[in-house]
Amino acid sequence: MASKREKQRSVEESERFLNDIFSGIQDGISVLDKNLNIIRVNHAMERWYAHAMPLSGKKCYEAYHGRSRPCEICPTRKTLQTGKLAYEVVPKIGPKGKIEGWLDLYSFPLIDRKTGKMEGVIEYVRDITEQRRIEAERDRLFNLSMDMMCIVGFDGYFKQINPAWHYILGWTEQELLSKPYLDLVHPDDKKATLAVQRSLTKGNKVAFFENRYLRKDGAYRWLSWTASPVQEEERSFAIARDITWQKNAQELIKKEHDFTAAVLNTVGALIVVIDPSGRIVSFNKACEELTGYKAKDAEGRRIWDFLLTKKEKTPVKHVFKDLVAGNFPNRHENYWIAKSGDRKLISWSNTAIVSSKGKVEYVIGTGIDITEQKRAENALKDSEERYRTLFENAQDVIYSVSAKDETITALNPAFEKVTGWRRNDWLGKAFLSIIHPDDLPVAIRTFQQALAGKTPKPYELRIRKRSGEYVQGEFTSSPQYERGEIVGEFGIGRDITERKRNELALIESREKLRLTMDHIPLHIGAIDKSGKFILWNKYSEKMFGYTQKEVTGKMPAVNVHEKLKDAVDVVRTAGKNSIYDKEVNLKHKDGHMIPAHLVVVPYRDPSGKIMAYYGFAEDITERKRAENELKETKERLEYILGATKTGIDVIDSDFNLRYVDPAWQRTYGDPFGRKCYDYFMGRKNICPNCGIPKALREKKTVVTEEILPKEGNRVIEVHTIPFQDSDGKWLVAEFNIDITQRKRIEEMKENLIRDVSHELKTPIANAKMAVEMGERAMASRDLGRILRAHKMVSENIDRTKNDIDTIMKAFALGQKQVLKKQRISIKKAMNEVLRVYMKEIKSKKLKIRTAFGPIADKLIADKANFRVILSNLIDNAVKFTDKGTITLTSSSKGKNIEISVSDTGKGMSRESLERIFERFYKASSAMPGVGLGIPICEQIVEKCGGSIEVFSAGPGKGTRVVVTLPKR
């Protein structure tokens, strides 16, 4: 008896214990019978629906939703129909039928173990209001769903997808868009999916359709679909939610036990009961399945001894201590380590069972495995952050407008950049006031569309900038939802001012180009790579005489050039410098040449390859004619002025011009009423060295010099002569004599004297210093040094003497000289000169080669002069050749004799060759001689009616001088 009573008490205790757990769970549990009558609820439900108490005996829709009929979408009814788990998010209805929040509602079938029949339904309810609120917040801000949203074509392809697709399934956007979505559907679900697809094309909406999609890593995800077709667009808008973790949960709770245990086990939630020492008292089925530990193995052990990660042991102990201390309920998340080593993230709702004495007897943890959900959430967070970054950094303006009062509720930083306003200037202000008055109809229409749940087609609005200007914006907007209700418009605006301007400019320029092409007096043509014209404007017909028809695609560009070479040059230059720009002669069809200003530019493809050449040519015949006329006039004028070399003008004491020589007037224009300094010199004040005041003061002629800037800095000598007119007034007459030429000669003379003096000074200075060196050497009795100094002195004196001789000759040549006509044998003359240089030739071991043509020996000329020429040439050859050969030749060339002297010596640089005929030019001052040899030869040869040429292939490559003289 006693044992029976004990057993009875034990059963009662067990019953009480289970009841305590049932009641203590933080999530709501409600048991319904098949007719939707509430049979039993836990404390959480009583707390939530305090206004509808008592709950037991009422219909669920009545108690929970304040309705008189069952709800249309109800997971419980679904479970009753199917006998399977159903899930739905349902609104939490408050006392006055107001939506207070949102609940996750799982309904599990309640099966009688004995009969196997469904007795009713267990609703497991979790308050997700807070979660929802956060979601809504996020949606409001980002208008991006954690759900996979897409537009699906009736053709079986995705048309558009949001980033969630990538985050959840791992495929890239491209991969998803490039193949029929059926390819990704689990083979077992294809048939059902096809059926849904067909249904959509017929215009039926689809809700909660579930199928499995292949993830990139090979796993399948369960997706729950809601789709709505737009038949006229032949596509559907669809939202898919990853419900894999719910599906997994479903599998966990396939088995049930007795009433209470069933509740505890069926819910699929983890339920663990722990005593105040931390030892597990109860470990439900879900816990077993999640962890891999059997209840009998787990019970009696402390959770932190085997289920927690090292890191979380201490925090969980704290949570536990808190609960034992009476601070419950609470919530937290932590990991459990399964027997297999897998980590599972669990979201716990904890509470404690308190004894009648107020002492905590047990702690009950109710948990849900949120590993998968967390993973998805993390993936989403990424996308949220991305979106936030996008929002903050977007070039485009992102905004939202409230439906309630049409005020702007959100603006991103781009707004400030684009408009110049501060965001605070407009947040909370009516959005219509920032829009151009003319665009208000569009703004209002699109806003209303958005509020009606439609997404308006992209539209353009002008937005008022802070500066008062308007910026052209292209907008896309959509309704903004909050808790399923449209609360406003969400949109993106892009500044297209520049684009518009460019578009306009493009249209304008195209139009302009077309007009230009045909109407302006300019040849416009283009040639392709083959060199044939592909473009030939109207004016070209007139300018060149060829019609468009005979040119386009047929005529090569060469036809309008004088020579093939010219055409090649144009293309080559344009290709190399990207432009050819020159005045050239172009050929008319009839063969006459057209002076033209030709500009050719290459046209390149994006890779830089030249595809064509565009050419523009202006006929400058007229301009050339005018230019020539002007030139002629100028020349005539110069001739007149040059001939008289005088110009006369009369000026009064106030510098007013009274008379100007007509020849001057042609250059300077009408002198009437002008001051002399303005008229001649372009000055505003009297010239600094003006002779007029002095001439008038002293009544004497004053001579000054002026440079005329308007006539190429011509130098004139001004003789200012004062005189009295018939009224007794003093005036001056100026006689202006051109002394430019005289000045030039004077300058040349000065240069000559300076050059000569430098030439003479150098050897003299050297000699003087060598003498001093010799003196020092004598003091030290250094015989070698004495001799060296002596040699230097004598050499420098010789150099001086030679220089003086040459200079004297040069000056003598400047004087008039009577050339004698003497019979000369070239061979004989050459030998005579060579004899003078024999000593040096021998010391340098130079070879002398001669080649005289028999009939090229006789010459009639001035013998002395001819010798000067030969001496100079041979002198240079010997001087500048250290080894090798000197070759002398003479040959007959018609009426002329050609004499050449070639050497294998130092040769000459290009610069030296160009300057060789300059007096005193020497490639180096260290070179012997004055630098007059070749100029003297030139002078003599020219006097004799011949010519002289100097050749050298470069320094070190020898020199060849060729003198051509008439035979008589």
Partner: protein
Amino acid sequence: MRKILIVEDEKDMQEIYRDLFEGQAKYEVDIESGTMPALRKLTAKNYDLIILDIIMEPIAGDSFFVYLRSDNKTSSIPVLVVSVLGPEIMEKLRRVDHAFYMQKPVTKEKLFEKLDDIITG
């Protein structure tokens, strides 16, 4: 010992300079016959003074002077122009601070006097 670089392209003058500086211990002298070798020397060695001839090819001494003044490394080295050209050549040179002039011919006595002046003064 003070270091002097002589830029002079005439063989005779080079020999005379060599003779002038022989047997004295005050100055160490390098003689270069052209501006290019002189530049090479200037980058390799620090000189206290440059003696410069003006009539030289291919780069005339005056151009070389301008170059010396434009290069930070050489802009403050005193330059003594020794030339047959008259003192007016100095007017053609710019930035003639630290620039001195002597007309050829120069005597040993005068040259050393000048060098002492420039280097110690």
